[in-house]
Amino acid sequence: MLNQFLLLGAVLFCIGVYGVIARKNTVLVLMSIELILNAVNINLIAFGAMNGDIAGAVFALFVIAVAAAEVGVGLAMVLIIYRNRSSVDLDDVDSMRG
């Protein structure tokens, strides 16, 4: 059944959204974003298998590449925030608060 894979992806996506909203530590928020990207990849592969189209796998590979780039830049930004403020708490990063 296609649905079981899609529902698994939806559940993982929602857990990731909860993590992004509820977590305070920047590294943990990045991990939750990885959860979301993986959920999307499961959906892409499942749809590709349903349609007998390889595009799903190809786009999943592209998503993995973009996720690797995102983690690299994200962790570099976390490092520089830690160096400037000695904290990776998201509540401390509020210089642009209105």
Binding site: M1, L2, N3, Q4, F5, L6, L7, L8, A10, V11, L12, C14, I15, G16, V17, Y18, G19, V20, I21, A22, K24, N25, T26, V27, L28, L30, M31, S32, E34, L35, N38, N41, I42, I45, G48, A49, M50, G52, I54, A55, A57, A60, L61, F62, I64, A65, V66, A67, A68, A69, V71, G72, V73, L75, A76, V78, L79, Y82, D89, D91
Partner: protein
């Protein structure tokens, strides 16, 4: 098909449990290790869907590279290795409500629209020798060549940018 379903549900249960640990555990390192379990489960689901090349890439890139980066990030930011009550917002229930609403909407939409769509028994695309890996390589280097090159340049520039951002002597 029955065996595949049993494996699917076992792996899915492990994945969801590990994902909940990732977003709730107070120990950062433990959350990172649970994330490895989720990534391995995702790779197993790819194998069930006959996407063996993507599964291998998942293991190499996510478990091999991204998790090592994450652990380096944890250590370099000296997040306390151990229990820390300050890992979750006081208003975590806002996130819980959002996630539950989202799960309800997405679950309804998926069951309503794809409720009975079957997956093909044999999920291999038999364009080239019956293996999905050959089909993926053919697609990447013909139809999707330009996106592939663009993503190569994106990866290179992102990693150079990461080095420039994180460098000390500026």
């Amino acid at each position: 098909m029955v065996a595949q379903n049993i494996f699917f549900y076992v792996i899915a249960a492990v994945m969801v449990a590990a994902a909940v640990v990732v977003v709730t555990n107070r120990n950062v390192v433990r959350a990172a290790l649970a994330l490895i379990v989720v990534f391995a489960g995702v790779a197993a689901q790819y194998i069930l869907l006959a996407a063996e090349f993507v599964a291998t890439t998942q293991v190499l890139v996510y478990i091999g590279a991204i998790m090592v980066l994450m652990l380096f990030g944890i250590m370099l930011t000296r997040a306390r290795i151990g229990q820390d009550p300050e890992m979750t917002n006081e208003r975590w229930w806002v996130g819980l409500i959002t996630a539950l609403l989202l799960a309800g909407v997405m679950g309804y939409a998926l069951i309503d629209h794809f409720g009975s769509d079957p997956l093909p028994e044999d999920r291999r695309l038999v364009a080239v020798g019956g293996s999905n890996t050959a089909t993926v390589s053919d697609a990447i280097f013909s139809q999707y060549l330009i996106p592939f090159e663009v993503i190569s340049v994106l990866l290179l520039s992102a990693l150079v940018g990461a080095i420039v951002i994180a460098r000390k002597d500026r």
